[in-house]
């Protein structure tokens, strides 16, 4: 089933998205689409990490895989921006307290109420919130984001070497274009309208953050420069985990069946109303799969966090 990603399912998905406004009866196709997307997402991540050591990976391939990840990520973000509830639980998804996960702590520090956060997300649905700080030091596109990221990184110890997957999270403007191409207009208007509603509720939330952030901005600058992300030239040597036990720790207590999870969320019509442990389930089938000996599955803790960011961020 997974081997048939053809147009049909994508169309069904589009129908589903549009139909959702009217009635949430699009269960099965939505499930298969989500499942397929998750599979492709996992495969893409694997591809970025698994290449022959000492050889330079094909830039073309890396770029294409990155674009794929970006696209899925933006889709997830868009779906996520429609539904507000997930954020209050964000930090519990990080059992080892890894330092890389900067964005989410930032939110929990700055915003006592989850609702305020969703306002932020909704007002900037596409360039949304969970980009690692290290990527944003030159990005003047969205000041409120930089503010949050910087605060968080100044509170936390310097992040570990950036993982391969980082290139995924950038270039908001291009992602924005992509989204506009990819998503049916009904979805975005839906998102926009919902965003507008939230904005009316708490219009102050985003604004109040800014002055506080600009002060912090300067102090955290040097640290950010230290944590410059690996660009495509650097990707070859970073991101490999020498100690696989981290995976074991992370995934030891996780139920693997995403099949249990997907139908229920889609039936309720709230795909992103996920608790973090449910989100982990969506990841776990991949990591628990038997790994072929010549392609050992190596996933750094930071990379796992990144996936969490992507999913929770949606």
């Amino acid at each position: 089933m997974l081997a048939k990603p053809g147009k049909r399912k994508f169309d069904e998905h589009e129908d589903g998205l549009e139909g959702k406004v009217v009635s949430p009866t699009d269960g099965p196709s939505k499930v298969s689409y989500t499942l397929q997307r998750q599979t492709i997402f996992n495969i893409s991540l694997m591809k970025l990490y698994n290449h022959r050591p000492l050889t330079e990976p094909s830039l073309q391939k890396t770029v294409l895989i990155n674009n794929m990840l970006r696209r899925i990520q933006e889709e997830l973000k868009q779906e996520g921006s429609l539904k507000p509830v997930f954020i209050s639980t964000s930090q519990s998804s990080d059992p080892l307290g890894d330092t890389y996960q900067e964005a989410q702590p930032a939110f929990s520090h700055l915003n006592s109420q989850p609702l305020q956060l969703t306002d932020l997300i909704s007002t900037t649905p596409l360039e949304s919130c969970l980009t690692p700080a290290s990527l944003l030091e030159e990005d003047t596109y969205c000041t409120s984001q930089i503010v949050q990221q910087n605060i968080s990184s100044s509170r936390l110890p310097p992040p570990p070497p950036p993982p391969l997957v980082q290139p995924v999270k950038d270039s908001f403007s291009s992602a924005l274009d992509e989204i506009e191409e990819l998503c049916p207009s009904s979805t975005s208007t839906e998102a926009a309208s919902e965003a507008a509603v939230h904005l009316k509720d708490e219009p102050v939330a985003a604004g109040t953050l800014k002055p506080e952030g600009t002060q912090e901005n300067r102090t955290s600058e040097p640290k950010l420069m230290d944590s410059l992300p690996g660009n495509f030239e650097l990707t070859t040597s970073t991101g490999f985990l020498t100690d696989l036990t981290l995976d074991d720790i992370l995934f030891s207590d996780i139920d693997t069946s995403m099949y249990d999870f997907d139908p229920c969320t889609s039936n309720t019509g709230a795909a992103s109303k996920m608790a973090p442990d449910e989100l982990l389930k969506t990841l776990s089938p991949y990591s628990n799969q038997p790994v072929t000996p010549n392609q050992p599955f190596k996933m750094d803790l930071t990379e796992l966090d990144h996936i969490m960011e992507v999913l929770v961020g949606s």
Binding site: L2, A3, K4, P5, G6, K7, K9, F10, D11, Q36, R37, T39, I40, I43, K47, L54, T55, E56, S58, L59, Q60, K61, V63, L64, N66, N67, M68, R70, R71, I72, L135, E138, Q166, P167, D170, S171, S174, P229, N231, F232, E233, T236, S237
Partner: protein, 437 residues
């Protein structure tokens, strides 16, 4: 479009053929392989007594073009694999070709020697200096015939021009310059100058995180030395005019087809990535290959290709698996015949496809040892989709995706084609032509 097999040439297991290229007359055929070797084949002159033996290609010369290297700054291996070979137009008795691996381009001279000088005054036959006291008279050295020897010598080494992997080289019609393209840049070189090149295209963004598109192939126009085209991983072609500015970052024409919404999927971008671009011999058209199709573009029409041919549309439902096993990133090449009326490109399962542009007929042929004994006529193959299966049909599920024909070449004037199937080189000849001889 039936083909007879002319020749099967097998190289050793380690040497997977990575490029195939005829020279401008078609007399020579060069292959490059993963081991950095270049093998040159020469067509045997026509034999009047045995008309059948006409036109076979035999090994003319073999040499090691590139060696594996190690980049100590980046701690990376530089493979010796030959990515591309391009012949230079012949200027004198010697032949010249450019060969490139991921980083370094080399100019080789291939010359013949069938005479050697004898009778030097100061040197003996082994080349050692004679004892001057024994030299009592002057003699004139003479050229004596000897067995034909093919000498290959490196003439130029163009290094340090590329940070990324070189995917294309193309010799300009002015015969003095050539260009080399890597993932993000295109450089213009003079054939005689190795320490300097001009960057004519640079699509590297200021921040590599913003990178979403790479250059996949590039070629000079066959007649207009100022024009060249390059293709991208997003499926577009950009025609650039070097007269416009020194740095051709701004294309003068952009050839792009709007995405068909009915075929949209996760893999739309990957399968639209152009793996090869070739100008027609006339210079009027461009041929591009993406994962599932070949397209013919008119230089005068930017909005869409004038012809689109499906190479293996039955794979459209299998893209996820092909993504998983990396096949979706395979870079298939494409080729024009001498009169620009037929196009050819490779596929999986040792199949290759030909499309007749006039009759709109297409054929799938197989390059395999079993089916193509010398002089045997190739039978068209058919891949069936779904239930109905005729005799000799092969089902989509039994295609062998490890046997792929990526590299093909067409003789510049005759209907002779060279097909590289992993470590085998097949040379086929059009049946009608061979019957006539």
């Amino acid at each position: 479009m039936s083909c007879g097999c002319l020749d099967i040439i097998t190289t050793s297991n380690a040497d997977i053929i990575s490029t195939v290229e005829f020279n401008h007359t078609g007399e020579l055929l060069a292959t490059g392989d993963k081991g950095g070797r270049v093998v040159i084949f020469q067509r045997e002159p026509e034999c009047k007594n045995e008309p059948c033996s006409q036109g076979e290609y035999n090994v003319y010369s073999t040499f090691q073009s590139h060696e594996p290297e190690f980049d100590y700054l980046k701690s990376l291996e530089i493979e010796e694999k030959i990515n591309k070979i391009k012949w230079l137009p012949q200027q004198n008795a010697a032949h010249s070709l450019l060969s490139t691996n991921d980083k370094t381009i080399k100019l080789w001279k291939i010359s013949e020697r069938d005479k050697r000088p004898e009778g030097y005054n100061l040197k003996d036959e082994e080349g050692k200096l004679k004892d001057l006291s024994t030299v009592t008279s002057l003699q004139v050295p003479v050229l004596k015939p000897m067995d034909l020897m093919v000498e290959v010598s490196p003439r130029r080494i163009f290094s340090n021009g590329h940070t990324y992997h070189v995917n294309s080289i193309s010799v300009n019609s002015d015969c003095e310059t050539y260009m080399s393209a890597d993932d993000l840049r295109i450089n213009l070189w003079h054939l005689a100058i190795t320490d300097r090149s001009f960057n004519i295209v640079d699509i590297k963004p200021a921040n590599m995180e913003d990178l979403t598109e790479v250059i996949t192939a590039a070629e000079f126009h066959p007649y207009h030395c100022n024009l060249f085209v390059y293709s991208s991983s997003k499926g577009s072609l950009r025609l650039c005019d070097m007269r416009a500015s020194a740095l051709c970052d701004k294309h003068c024409k952009l050839y792009e087809e709007p995405e068909d919404p009915s075929n949209r999927s996760f893999f739309s971008e990957i399968i639209s990535s152009v793996s090869d671009v070739k100008f027609s011999h006339s210079g009027r058209y461009m041929l591009t290959r993406d994962y599932l199709t070949v397209k013919v573009w008119d230089l005068n029409m930017e909005t869409k290709p004038i012809e689109t041919y499906q190479v293996h549309d039955y794979l459209r439902s299998k893209l996820c698996s092909l993504y998983e096993n990396d096949c979706i990133f395979d870079k298939f090449e494409c080729a024009w015949n001498g009169s620009d009326s037929v196009i050819m490109t490779g596929a999986y399962n040792n199949f290759f496809r030909m499309f007749d542009r006039n009759t709109k007929r297409d054929v799938t042929l197989e390059a395999s040892r079993e089916s193509s004994k010398p002089r045997a006529v190739l039978k068209p193959r058919r891949v069936c989709v779904g239930g109905k299966r005729r005799k000799d049909d092969i089902s989509v599920d039994s295609l062998d995706f490890t046997k792929k024909i990526l590299h093909t070449a067409w003789h510049p004037t005759e209907n002779i084609i060279a097909i590289a199937a992993t470590n085998n080189l097949y040379i086929f000849q059009d049946k009608v032509n061979s019957d006539m001889h």
